[in-house]
Amino acid sequence: MPKPLTLMLAAVVGAVLAVVALGAMTQQLVVSSGTAASTSDDNGDPQHYGVR
């Protein structure tokens, strides 16, 4: 049986890989849709501090 620490590290590494993949996918979706976030939102009127 692997030790708990090994299991934990494996879980963390697995989570890292999953999150990186998820993050990359989210970024791709966001950039391609041009609606939700990232640069499309940031390109608003520069004089605005923000929009509610």
């Binding site: 966001v30 939700a36 990232s38 009127d45």
Partner: protein, 561 residues
């Protein structure tokens, strides 16, 4: 505390979790350059300048943050300082929460650690560039731990508390948060630790002196535009409304700095689940922390939530408008969501312990799986915090001509106006991201920028009488040659327009794609003014001396923390 404290492998696990979380969130920062986003500006070398230490005609919103950055910039370049600050926020949040939670299982510690560093609050404030406030966020678990130690008479607790409070007090909001936290946890404490508690309160109050003195010497007064209350009130992020958004630690006023995942249909359901877990966990927290601490922490977090939600409650907005307009310093309360920090910590601690309590009813390996699921839950609910908040933290380099303009201005120093009038800018070289005008920190002279904020269609007026006068002069299209400004910099394609009449009589010194620099021949070069004087220097020295004494005291102990 009746729970076991983290042993060496446990601590190592927390540091591994911190490293992984920091890497996940800040991965894009491995590229060179500066992340320039909303309130976050770092420059190659921020000058040591009086108006950065204490703005003469504006409220001290970044005091002593700018002074600290300028001082550290003497030894550490801006690009590195930014990375150190951002990594430290996540690292200390993870390890601090993981060590504070009175857990009986190591997995519970990881639930609290990851849960505190992967919150909508952190994501939204990071996207708004408020790294100084996030330092207070990261320092809070350490501050609470030190305060508990002080109550129990543990050696070294006082210097630990001072160091944590000093990190928090880099902004006025963080300083007040530290003072409130220490007051709530320690006030009314009798017995042998009474003197130490008094010393702690005095020390944290003294750490707030720099911004208090700066507020006392500014000509801006202390009152703010009450229109800011509606502009900066907590905002609904989905069908749950603003109170549910706040309960889930989100609800920032700016929709452009809210991660897209916060709009998901299931987010309020997850929030409700977290609250149920937290309700399960609070009795555990109460039993395992020293008597009275959990109740005081609960009172603090309820107070924080009410403060954050105040403008969204019936009658709250009207009361807050009156406060902001009439009471000096009450403008701090108009962006209420930032007050949520103690609530976030209490929610995370209770939810982690609630998870531990619920998992105890499951058989192996179900209990472990349930806790691993709770570790990963924040990431699953908020996946777009990963990879620089889904690519929104992008380092960029300043155009070369910024350096050219800085060198020209340094040769003949004098007050400089940044045009067009706009406090925030959007540059093509910064991917169009909105950022507070970096020129004010980039140039080695005093730079006057606009201080009015535009939020949607609403304008929130600033406080500087000098800027108001300049704005009127520009509206009347009067030439700036008659002003006391030595330099005028026009930033092209950053938003807004400059009427050509206002530049009449000025000499072009540099004309580039991004910037045009004008010299005003009617005004001679002048050295930097020393408006703030000795009270400010003394307050800064007092805070720094206290911090250094605390650090030296900790270094002389066998285990600093």
């Amino acid at each position: 505390m009746s729970s076991v404290s983290a042993d060496l492998p446990g601590r190592l696990r927390l540091h591994v979790a911190a490293a992984v979380t920091a890497l996940l969130v800040l991965a894009p920062l491995v590229r060179p350059g500066y992340v320039l986003r909303y309130d976050m500006v770092f420059v190659p070398r921020q000058p040591l300048r009086w108006n950065l230490f204490a703005p003469g005609d504006a409220l001290p919103r970044a005091v002593p943050q700018d002074a600290v950055v300028s001082l550290l910039n003497l030894a550490v370049p801006g690009w590195l300082l930014q990375r150190i600050a951002l990594v430290a926020i996540i690292w200390f949040a993870v390890v601090g929460a993981g060590r504070l939670v009175p857990a009986r299982r190591e997995l519970t510690r990881l639930v609290a650690a990851v849960g505190y560093a992967w919150t909508p609050f952190l994501a939204e404030r990071l996207l708004l560039g408020q790294w100084g406030l996030l330092l207070a966020y990261a320092a809070l678990p350490w501050l609470v731990r030190a305060a508990i130690g002080l109550r129990e008479g543990r050696p070294g607790a006082l210097p630990r508390l001072i160091v944590a409070a000093a990190a928090a007090a880099i902004t006025p909001t963080g300083g007040l948060l530290a003072l409130t936290t220490v007051s709530v946890l320690l006030l009314g404490r009798g017995g042998p630790g009474r003197r130490a508690c008094g010393a702690a309160l005095g020390a944290v109050a003294a750490l707030n002196l720099p911004w208090l003195v700066a507020a006392a010497v500014t000509t801006a007064g202390g009152r703010s535009d009450p229109d800011g209350v509606a502009a900066f009130a907590a905002r609904a992020e989905n069908w749950g409304g603003p109170l549910v958004a706040l309960a889930g630690t989100g609800g920032i006023w700016n929709s452009l700095t809210t991660p897209a995942s916060r709009g998901a249909l299931l987010v309020p359901v997850v929030t409700a689940g977290l609250l149920v877990l937290a309700a399960l966990g609070f009795p555990v927290l109460r039993d395992r922390l020293p008597t009275g601490v959990a109740t005081r922490l609960g009172v603090l977090s309820v107070g924080a939530f009410v403060g954050a939600a105040f403008a969204a409650l019936p009658g709250g907005a009207a009361a807050l408008r009156w406060l902001v307009a009439e009471v000096p310093g009450a403008g701090l309360l108009r962006d209420g969501q930032k007050l949520l920090i103690p609530y976030v910590l209490c929610l995370v601690l209770c939810a982690a312990l609630g998870g531990e309590r619920a998992a105890a009813r499951l058989k192996q390996p179900g209990d472990r799986l349930a806790l691993v699921g709770l570790v990963l839950l924040p990431v699953a609910v908020l996946p777009d915090l990963a990879y620089g908040a889904a690519g929104r933290l992008q380092p960029v380099r300043y155009p070369q001509e910024w350096g050219v303009v800085a060198r020209a201005v340094a040769q003949e120093p004098g007050p400089t106006l940044s045009l067009p009038m706009s406090m925030y800018r959007s540059y093509r070289w910064n991917h169009g991201t909105v950022v507070i005008d970096p020129l004010a920190r980039y140039l080695p002279v005093e730079v006057v920028t606009d201080d009015a904020l535009l939020v949607g269609d609403r304008t929130v007026d600033g406080e500087s009488p000098r800027v108001a006068q300049l704005r009127r002069s520009l509206l009347d299209r009067r030439s700036l040659a008659g002003s006391d400004l030595r330099w005028v910099v026009v930033q092209h394609r950053s938003g807004g327009t400059v009427p050509p009449q206002v530049l009449e009589g000025l000499q072009v010194v540099h004309s580039g794609e991004e910037l045009t620099l004008y010299r005003n021949p009617a005004v001679s070069p002048a050295g930097a003014g020393q408006r703030a004087g000795w009270p400010l220097v003394l307050s800064l020295c007092c805070a720094l001396a206290m911090l250094l004494l605390a650090i030296v005291s900790l270094l002389r102990r066998p285990t600093a923390w």
